[in-house]
Amino acid sequence: MFESLSDRLTQTFRGITGKARLSEENISEALRDVRVALLEADVALPVVKDFIEQVKTRAMGQVVSAALNPGEEFVKVVQEELIHVMGDSNDGLNLQVAPPAVILMAGLQGAGKTTTVAKLAKLLKERDRKKVAVVSADVYRPAAIKQLQTLAKEVDALFIESSADEKPIDIAKRAVQTAKTQFADVLIVDTAGRLAVDEAMMGEIRSLHDFLKPAETLFVVDAMTGQDAANTAKAFNDALALTGVILAKADGDARGGAALSVRAITGKPIKFMGMGEKIEALEAFYPDRLASRILGMGDVLSLIEEAERKVDKKKAQRLAKKISRGKKFDLEDFRDQLEQMSNMGGISSMLDKLPGMGQLPPAAQAQIDDGAFKKMAVIIDSMTIQERQFPDLISGSRKKRIALGSGTGIPEINRLLKQHKQMQKMMKKVSKKGGMQRMMRGMQGLPGMKGGPGR
């Protein structure tokens, strides 16, 4: 496994720099790289094949811009094409029908349907001020109805009772009646998970669909799904005429190729991503973010561009030289670094562009707030030059003085010194491997950056 597609492509294109055009021969190896990357991201093989053809057509004859080498140019084509295939961002829900507008949930066992019902109810209630009713037609999974009841209470949606002794179709009929008499704007119908190969169960949901005539029929797919996403999506789309897709469990480290498979096979928009187990963890779908993730490289290109535009080149070069000569990365350098980062729109905007980073749970994101960086700069300003160059000198009494001077506390000073040590370690690594790009990627390895608190 390679670290990122751009790494590999750079390698592939090494021999052919200087060529002004991407041509059939010089991109065939690169296309193989893309194929492997997509397969490793679990994009379904038939979808991969089509995609490769499209990229090939687009890339050929593409003139390489002066600013980019052929490798980078090619990455750009791949990324743009991927975003294109993935469709527009967040279509929202189309509930413009006589109330109650019905939303029918469909998908495999354990995909995330019931949780998503609660998330949607919360969103519609709070964002759109709708009166939302929910009902469970899952009479199979033990305590499935209870699960929805608990969640409905949590989001304060109208819960329409049902029981495991009832037939799903009877539940649906009764629920529509109740939703009407209660003047609900929206009725969300949860269903049991089912396999696409289970004809009886597919028949059941088809009859639910026929009766309910839903405004939205949403297919919930687990972001970790492999090649089967294509089979399953096709079967559900054929049976139900889906109106949209929700990608659940996208808060993990899966590359999420299933999203591309489902999108390409059904042609239906991906409307939301589930970003956690909690009921507020539902986010709009952004094709660019997912494209980067599938390719496993973050929005590296725009990061590079931005870095080039905003970084104080002289300072950066000075630092690079110093470090490559094996010199220590002192607090002075740390301060410069912090300044550069806030010039680039703050660390949070940088992290957004890196693979896996956008998925940080909110609690962890709060830890890397930009205000904290300003504070850190103030702390360093309160140190003597000697202290900045030799942080080991900073004893207890010096800490007290610095805390006083910067209007902070001893724990904050300690934290800063610790973070500086970590950065120093990282710099050592960077000096061995070299390159800004490396450093950016290295940030993923920062302690506490992977995962984090929250569900």
Binding site: M1, D42, K146, A229, T232, D251, D253, G257, E277, G451
Partner: protein, 314 residues
């Protein structure tokens, strides 16, 4: 899920029926291989590669299998498609053979403590319900611990399985400390002389460091009651998951020391080909496979049957 009255005779039949759907794709490659002993050319090999990739075998494992087969073709050991087909079957079986090992309940342990871990929705709770039934049929006294204190109605779900099996379930309220539930359960099992305790845990994504730490904590706490406990930590893998299953195997192992796997939902069209990669990188026994939602839809893993069914051509 739909009522299948044919149930008993064809448990494997059901599995194969599901596999048949995959075979739709596999057959493109493998099925054609059987047609009239054709000569092996590049397109045959390419089809074969396609078939493997389509069942989540993954790029690395597929490449390895293909290299091995191509070499044998070059050495003229395999002269026609029929020979190629059986060589592939043999190769795949050999890769899985070391994983075929039954789950044995540690008899000296009272109780034998078995943890179930895995990502959200993998099939942990259902597998516990099915396994409890098996263990009871083998004459064990079984108890369940409702260690999923997070998900809505997870406790009630496990309690239903307890009722179906007519066995006790130790539980606290939603939001309780998972480690303390499991601790209580083990303690009470010790005093009652229970043979096996199956501990459910909340589903969690392996990238979430704090949730993985929570698992390690449950393990630490339980080992205070019995240094050997948990005797087994079973990672439940959904057959539908693609290459992420490899990361699941690694991370759960790092956090709690996985001792074996169960693959669920093999009754669908997903075939869990990623198990070949797992067999290479993190070989551990596959104790069972899940082939449905009913209490008896749990079968021992048999590589022979698994691969045969995968490559079969009716």
């Amino acid at each position: 899920m739909s009522d299948e009255s044919e149930s008993k005779p064809g448990l494997w039949g059901r599995f194969k029926k599901g596999l048949g759907k995959t075979r739709g794709q596999l057959a493109e490659g493998v099925g054609n291989l059987l047609l009239g002993e054709r000569e092996i050319d590049d397109s045959v090999l390419e089809d074969l590669e396609t078939s493997l990739l389509l069942t989540d075998v993954g790029v690395d494992a597929t490449t390895q299998v293909m290299q091995e087969l191509s070499q044998r073709v070059q050495r003229k050991e395999l002269n026609n498609t029929r020979a190629l087909h059986s060589a592939l079957g043999g190769l795949l079986k050999d890769m899985l053979a070391p994983l075929a090992m039954p789950l044995s309940v540690a008899v000296d342990a009272k109780p034998c403590v078995i943890f179930f871990v895995g990502v959200n929705g993998a099939g942990k709770t259902t597998t516990i319900g099915k396994l409890a039934n098996r263990l009871r049929n083998d004459g064990n006294e079984v108890m369940l611990a409702a260690g999923d204190t997070f998900r809505a109605a997870a406790v009630e779900q496990l309690q239903t399985w307890g009722e179906r099996n007519n066995i006790p379930v130790v539980a606290q309220h939603q939001g309780a400390d998972s480690a303390s539930v499991v601790f209580d359960a083990v303690q009470s099992a010790q005093s009652r002389g229970v043979d096996v305790i199956l501990a459910d845990t909340a589903g969690r994504l392996q990238a979430k460091a704090n949730l993985m730490e929570e698992l390690s904590k449950i393990k630490r706490v339980v080992s205070r009651l019995d240094a050997q406990a948990p005797h087994e930590v079973i990672l439940v893998l959904d057959a539908g998951i693609g290459q992420n299953a490899i990361s699941q195997a690694k991370e759960f192992d790092a956090a709690v020391g996985v001792t074996g796997y169960v693959i669920t939902k093999l009754d669908g069209s997903a075939k869990a080909g990623v198990i070949f990669a797992i067999a290479q990188q993190l070989p551990k026994p596959v104790y069972y496979v899940g082939i449905g939602e009913k209490i008896d839809d749990l079968q021992p893993f048999e590589p022979q049957v698994f691969v045969d069914a995968l490559l079969a051509n009716d």
